[in-house]
């Protein structure tokens, strides 16, 4: 039974269309991500990356098309999907008038973690992202890097099977980015399925198993990282998106 279930991709999106007002943001996009696969999603601004992630995260409904995550269908079985989904987005999704510990405790309760485990789960996570000394400080006093690390701690707090990261590296300084690298490395090693959108081709290629390029609402390039050298990614990216945009 396990292999039959395991064979099925963790994330399946078919013919996703999303139209805001009159302009189409997603134009019939198909995407499958296998269990435990780390997909780096590249693409210029306005190509629909964030919209795609919001649809996969059950935060937005597609105008048409179907989405299944972990075998659960959206939007009907959204609750099952939400229970196993961790999201890091542009916005920190944290409460700046609460302390780091209070924030994580709130999400631990919201995600219904077993009562006994909550406190030490929160503390292990804070230690893992290097914020245990600032546990009692209000998030408003945190730097951009610290907020991002806390956001990642929140995203993996309930041990989700799927992680959606929307440009997690934006605004991070060098060592915060380095810390984020091994955090994501560890997350990938734990067998989670990850989709990360980024503008950083080199870092995307280094971290991910597979690279996909999104342009004007559809996936225009999709290949495993082994099949393409990091060096010629920029050139390739330019033709695929450049070719499209300069017409």
């Amino acid at each position: 039974m396990i292999d039959e279930v395991a064979a099925r991709p963790m994330i399946e999106a078919q013919k996703l269309v999303k139209i805001f007002g009159v302009n189409p943001v997603l134009r019939g996009l198909d995407l499958d991500v296998q269990r435990g696969e780390f997909l780096a999603l590249l693409g210029p601004n306005g190509s629909g990356k964030t919209t795609l992630l919001r649809i996969l995260a059950a935060l937005a409904r597609p105008t048409s098309g179907t989405v299944r995550i972990g075998g659960w269908e959206l939007p009907g079985e959204a609750d099952y999907v939400r229970a196993q989904l961790g999201v890091v987005s542009h916005m920190p999704l944290l409460y700046d008038t609460l302390t780091a510990e209070e924030n994580l405790l709130f999400f631990a309760r919201l995600y219904d973690l077993p009562r006994g485990e909550r406190r030490d789960r929160v503390h292990t996570m804070l230690r893992r992202v290097g914020l245990h000394r600032r546990a009692r400080d209000v998030v408003r006093t945190f730097s951009r890097g610290m907020v991002q690390r806390l956001a990642i701690a929140r995203a993996v707090l309930h041990d989700p099977a799927v992680l959606l990261l929307d440009e997690p590296y934006t605004g991070l300084d060098q060592d915060a980015a380095a810390l984020l690298d091994d955090l994501l490395g560890e997350v990938a090693a734990a067998g989670r399925t990850v989709i990360m959108t980024t503008h950083d081709l080199r870092r995307g290629h280094a971290l991910a198993d597979r690279i996909a390029i999104l342009s004007r609402g559809t996936i225009v390039y999709d290949v495993s990282c082994h099949a393409v050298a990091a060096a010629d990614l920029p050139g390739l990216y330019a033709d695929v998106t450049g070719a499209v945009t300069t017409r």
């Binding site: 269990r35 609750d79 196993q84 219904d112 077993p114 993996v156 734990a190």
Partner: protein, 247 residues
Amino acid sequence: MSAPPGNAHSTPNKPSAGRVRRPVTAYWRAVGVIAWKDLRAEIRSRELVTSMILFTLMTVMVFSLALELDADARQNTVAGVLWVTVVFAGMLGLSRSLAAEKDRGSLDALLLAPIDRSALFFGKMIGNLVFVLVVAGVLMFALTVMFNITLIRPLIVLFVLLGSIGFTTVGTLFSSMSVHARARETLLPILLLPVVLPILISAVRGSTAILNDLPSDDWLPWLQLLVVADVIFLAAGYALFDFVVEE
């Protein structure tokens, strides 16, 4: 972190056999967690309640100056003063609490969680209700002193409670809509006042009848109307909130 994904809580994949219990946080716990978070964030920052209370005291001053009346005329207007102030202070609180949540983007964090949308609605509503009741409490005390009419009586408290519940229910539903509008501060009163006026009238007429020690068949119909209104608006909030927050 090293724990393999898909612990008991988040199922790795849709088990083919049988329905899994909906992994949704218990309804009332979700409501409690959200309301508790709003209150704790507010106790920490205290900006919302202080601005509402200052607004209330200033309004009471204005009314007491404007209504330099003899005793029995005051008897008939004090309930009106109470409710006009509660409504406007309440609207101040409503638009700030929802707007802050939306601007900070933390509304997404709540929409991501595996909880019923209506639990989110009632959590938010109860948070707002507490702020409104705090204002009403301060107000009743201030008015008792300024107008030297004993406002703090069981029946008046009942009317204040029922009126605040109705007002906050509709207020929370409408402020989650007006927060998306361009002129959100001006749109909320326009949307809210006409629909909430029947509650306001029932509460004022009922309270005044009690203050004048009239027999029960003078204020009982207003109490019944208030209860009916609360039930209708609670049901509407329960059924419609999902459509408001869905994208």
